[in-house]
Subunit: 162 residues, 2 copies
């Protein structure tokens, strides 16, 4: 699709994050399975449920702007997940692997925060008020997930250090 | 290199962000050249200088932890930059392209904030106090760059909308 204006760029970016969310739905169960710390495992499982909700919410947003839900390949999320899976496969020590997965998940959250932040600003400017509201709900959930990961990472590390 | 503990993971992640910063040094001049808005062009140029400083600072951090500065391929930054370059090449309309480049640069900043945030926490825990201090200087500069991009994006969009 040719991107001629902000509306096109908005729809393109919706498709990018829709593809990304679906990749994250695929990646999180593997991360939950590999996590040895119970709190981290639970965090990944809870975030999987949330992420499924983000996919549904994006489908609603596509509807609100009269577009068909469709993904567009997002090399950024592919790269971020590739790195996470490499580390997960490579690291034998359970504590170190948990710490690496926590950091990888935070890189995912940061990518999403960047994208949703942009999408909210553009939706508002384009007058898509309902879409902006739905997108900012997801943005807040991504921020909260990142904060929980920071906390889990710190408590895990402090336990190891003790 | 086999990652057996937090120190290894710290060094691995240093190499990842060192590779990433060097990729960003390659990408920013192209973005500055493509930017049609003077403020945005200036922002990319200033951030290029800052990024060169981050490369030097990372080299100092490697020295502080007795490691040789070395990059390790970072598929995440490759993906983020690939997306940025695709959009830069595709979009004909100058305002829309500027907006897309601003958003792409924010995705880069967010990736870096995630990585430096993690590195600072690990450096502190590992007792690398000087490294932690240097890394948090860069973290603050990345946050500031992101905030400037948000402001530039908003003012650009508001001008277009007016």
């Amino acid at each position: 699709m040719a991107i001629k204006n902000l509306q096109d760029l908005f729809v393109h970016t919706l498709k990018d994050i829709y593809f990304a969310e679906k990749q994250i739905v695929q990646a999180l169960p593997k991360m939950a399975e590999k996590a040895s710390d119970g709190e981290l495992k639970k965090l990944f499982e809870t975030h999987l449920e949330e992420t499924r909700g983000h996919v549904d919410r994006l489908e609603a947003v596509f509807g609100l702007v009269n577009e068909r839900p469709e993904g567009e390949r997002c090399p950024a999320i592919e790269g971020i997940i590739e790195e996470a899976e490499e580390l997960m496969g490579e690291i034998q020590d359970a504590d170190t692997r948990d710490t690496a997965m926590t950091a990888a998940a935070q890189a995912v959250e940061h990518y999403e925060m960047a994208r949703y932040g942009t999408l909210v600003a553009w939706a508002e400017l384009l007058g898509h008020k309902d879409a902006a509201r739905r997108l900012s709900e997801t943005l807040e959930e991504e921020k909260a997930a990142d904060a929980k990961l920071t906390k889990a990472g710190e408590s895990k590390l402090n336990k190891q250090a003790a």
